[in-house]
Symmetry: C2
Subunit: 596 residues, 2 copies
């Protein structure tokens, strides 16, 4: 059974308690979002996600999307839910108030996103893509474009897409072929085929604003000849009402492993009218403005899936009676004890829990940096935040989606045969979560981004935004009587990370394949150290609160146990990936291609 209640207490722990000393200072412009407002928003979001989106999740998977007379239809109930979503102001939660948005901080909005990802990942993609498109548009659009499009996107009336992939090119966008022919009126006619376009067509919003990568005539070859165009489904009239249908159509809906209620479309642009966004031939840059935000958002998808996998598993583990506890009967009146008494069931529950809490803390840290990058009054703090976001974006994307997917499979395993049956709703989690490791840059590409771009950038400056607070924390707490053992574990992993960084810097300078060979293991190691740091800080805080006697004993005690579990069971194998990194590229690259 799919079960969900937003983990609001843990969200508030991360928002309001854990990251107070993160070095980004007080932020300006979010004065409205005090603790009362934050609490109210989280409660309202929980209600919407739990009561409206979750009940549509499994039916949406079973029904899927369909094309009727050239128009994509979403599953039953999605239109009404989208209406509620927009009426609640959720479509523009982080959008600037001048465009009609709420202007909420990312740190808060990511918690809300986590809830919608948990309860209906397919649904969340529709407004999610609009959000991404707004980021690009706000950064690269002309004033006219922004004034015209942003308000209607911020309230969800119109939605957005990003159209990059073509059948022969996904990661390697340099090969893309879609053409843009300039017209005398300043517009361009766009012609080409795109695939894998999320929310490419649907019946939720009255218009869809496609951001499309295409080549102008005589553009340079490769990625330096790509421009970005805004192509509306319906050409709007000057007053914002809908005019002619633009010849951009969904020719098919992909048959996917999961995420079936999200329409992933093959799109055909047959001389569709569009307008350049940003400078000519700098479309990739404009698209990447959106891509980075989207990558963090995709990481949150992994966390969201991990959370509902955990909660549904807890429900089943308490409900299902099977076997007897090894330490003596726990449910003497029943025919058997609940699953939760068994150590191997605990292993899975605690692993999921630790992944979720660890990722949530890292996410809150990174999201606060996303806000600080723009809203910190101190230039130094802004710069530090920017470095930190640059470093952590690929980590959040790849690590969270890998761990979220692992959690969905633990949920299946914990449910036994019932986890493999569709009606239980558990296997859907695994099928839905799987795509997050692939889209917005496959996780291997994230790892290359980390070691190939983010590490060497400005002599390693990005990395210092992370290494500095971690080493400072270790130094400050190495002899702490309360959390000394945990800090020792962190220190060991951090040491392995430092050595790995040195290995990559040294070997990768001479031979980029050496850095690439280390990339995936390195990303995971760095991610686990980041989680470890957050858990160590959490443990310190929990000890303090327990000593103070806050009346929330169970919450803080559980936080301590989860932290201890992370250091006992999850961090050591991740640390050992240093051995793999150190072994270098030889055994990975030695085999001639035809020997495979």
């Amino acid at each position: 059974m799919q079960v969900y209640e937003a983990p609001i207490r843990d969200m508030r722990f991360n928002l309001e308690e854990l990251h107070e000393d993160d070095g980004f200072g007080n932020l300006e412009g979010f004065e409205d979002f005090d603790e009362d407002m934050t609490g109210a928003i989280l409660e309202e979001a929980n209600k919407l996600c739990r009561d409206v989106l979750l009940p549509l999740n499994w039916p949406g998977d079973q029904q899927g999307c369909r094309i009727e007379n050239g128009v994509v239809r979403t599953p039953d109930g999605f239109q009404e839910a989208y209406k509620q979503f927009c009426e609640g102001g959720w479509a523009g939660l982080v959008v600037d108030q001048k465009w009609g948005g709420q202007g909420a901080p990312h740190a808060l909005a990511k918690m809300v996103e986590e809830m919608s990802c948990s309860t209906n990942l397919s649904f969340g993609l529709y407004p999610g893509l609009t959000g991404g498109a707004m980021v690009s548009l706000e950064a690269y659009g002309s004033e006219d474009q922004k004034n015209f499009y942003m308000p209607k996107m911020a309230n969800g009336e119109w939605s957005g897409t990003m159209c990059l992939t073509e059948p022969h090119c996904g990661t390697d966008l340099g090969m893309l072929r879609t053409k843009a022919e300039p017209q005398e009126d300043g517009s361009c006619l766009i012609t080409g085929n795109k695939i894998f376009i999320s929310a490419g067509d649907h019946d939720l919003a009255e218009n869809i604003i496609h951001l499309v990568l295409a080549r102008l005539p005589d553009a340079p070859k490769g990625v330096k000849g790509i421009s970005m165009f805004l192509v509306p489904k319906f050409l709007p009239k000057d007053d914002g009402s809908l005019g002619d249908r633009n010849p951009v159509t969904a020719t098919a809906i992909e048959h996917k492993m999961g995420l079936k209620a999200s329409a992933t479309c093959q799109m055909s642009f047959d001389g569709a009218k569009g307008w350049l966004v940003g400078p000519e031939n700098r479309g990739l840059e404009a698209m990447f403005a959106m891509m980075n935000t989207e990558r963090v958002a995709v990481g949150i998808q992994g966390l969201g899936m991990g959370e509902i996998a955990y909660q549904s598993s807890v429900y089943y583990a308490k409900d299902r009676l099977q076997g007897r506890s090894l330490s003596g009967v726990k449910n003497p009146d029943g025919p058997a004890d609940p699953l939760i008494v068994h150590p191997d069931i605990r292993r899975m529950l605690m692993t999921m829990r630790a992944y979720n809490e660890g990722c949530r803390s890292v996410s809150a840290w990174v999201s606060r940096a996303l806000d600080a990058e723009h809203a910190s009054p101190e230039p130094e703090a802004r710069a530090r935040a920017k470095d930190f976001v640059a470093l952590m974006t690929p980590v959040v994307k790849a690590l969270f989606t890998d761990l979220g997917h692992e959690s969905t499979h633990m949920a299946i395993q914990l449910h036994g045969g019932h986890g493999y049956i569709q009606e239980t709703g558990i296997e859907q989690f695994a099928r839905d979560a799987r795509i997050a490791q692939i889209y917005e840059g496959a996780n291997g590409i994230q790892a290359l981004d980390l070691v190939g771009r983010k590490l060497p950038d400005r002599m390693g400056r990005n990395l210092r935004s992370f290494f500095h607070p971690v080493s400072q924390f270790i130094e400050d707490h190495a002899n702490d009587e309360h959390i000394g053992k945990i800090v020792a574990g962190l220190q060991q992993s951090f040491g392995a990370l430092q050595l790995s960084t040195g290995h990559i810097a040294q070997k990768g300078l001479k031979d980029p394949e050496e850095a690439a060979a280390a990339a995936t293991d390195y990303l995971r190691l760095l991610g686990f150290v980041a989680m470890g740091y957050c858990f160590a800080k959490s443990a310190k805080l929990a000890k303090q609160k327990l000593a103070e006697g806050t009346g929330e004993e169970q919450f803080y005690k559980s936080k301590l146990t989860t932290a201890q579990f992370f250091f006992d069971r999850l961090l050591p194998p991740a640390t050992a990936q240093f051995m793999a990194i150190k072994s270098g590229k030889a055994s990975m690259m030695d085999m001639p291609a035809d020997a495979f």
Copy 2:
């Protein structure tokens, strides 16, 4: 694209070269199965699997099974394929010749099973269940039962099932409720509902022989009151022709995540006529005779899925052009280089390859012991083989299925967005492979079997059958100039395994939850040491063959590279699971159930 060619060279390496010195001696009764015969069987099996079963694999997934007028229909083409399968004598490959089987050794038959699992896991379940049922019947059936049923099952005319699970009990069979009422004619009437029954009904064989667990009146509570019954779909007349339809019916086909061409049925027994197999109240024992063989067979399913995931990935990695090699353009005439030039793609290919080759070697070792247990002329070798099979059965089941599933997900990842699309056929592998970690005892149960039964059994005697050859090999080769570095890696992991064993023996004696808390990590560590031992032996052999100059340079060089990759990248994180084991149960069990 689903691509397959049986890895016959590697299979023969394992059958004919690697395990010569395994201490089980020469086996008797398999004289017909010399190298010529083995080669011919593998070639024929490859043709059947590649040319007949594989083309039905993806269509079978899309079409699935259906119930028409109370009868289960398999997908198009399955009936004809099953006919070919039976005509080729594959249904009775390991069955004694006195029942009309081929009497082939398990070591060979497991290679054939691997092929059918690679090419059509759903199809393979139908004869697979029959094979399991024959094992129980041969061990526990009366002479009359065997004479009557075995020949028709060995040639595939009739098929078999095992009916254990009920809605409220899977692992915990003590709770089962299906009743058997003795009749005056010596038969019993069976009444109850079973779920998750593989091949419970279908249109491939003319009759289905169900082996059903049920309770006789006044039977003791729990697992000691369960008996096994033989319940045919059609009650056979004395001459073997079909008589009345027995009231056992498939009331529904489960809607599963994958394995859709295998009919997993809800079965209703409404006073169906059945006959006791084996002694009263010892049904679990009779079922376990089958279960152990089945568990090794399920392990092979994991390996089979891993192999086709690897091969399909290799095909795509050579075919798909995307990006340029970091060490210089490799395909200057094309718009990009093939994926296989990229280190992170290599990482996935080499990991899958190492998993498959490692598991295949372990499987060949265990399968040879399965044969030696019965066919070795020396009592000591038989006893050693039996101990080894007992120890390794849960390891083969759980480790192979875990790694096979990991490989199918690497295949998806390597295919990028195309891996998530159904038409490519890749995501089917992951959905199909997933069940193998669950059925025939979920992998957590395998781990408990290992630490709770197989380790302590007769003061650890099972374990010695494994520890002795490994420590002997390490001792003999510690200073070997050719493979010394590999042996050092093996020694380190073996040391961690020994310490882990000591930890479990010591702590688990006082507190069984301590052993259970270590179980899953321990199974994986032991499995990786077993693979490491096989790779170290393989490397030694490869070095020898290369020095001799056998003319198969590429095969032996690739074996060396794969072994090196295993020791560089895969063994160290597995070894680090010792740290998790050592940490004990506290952080796993501390949290009160209501804190979850």
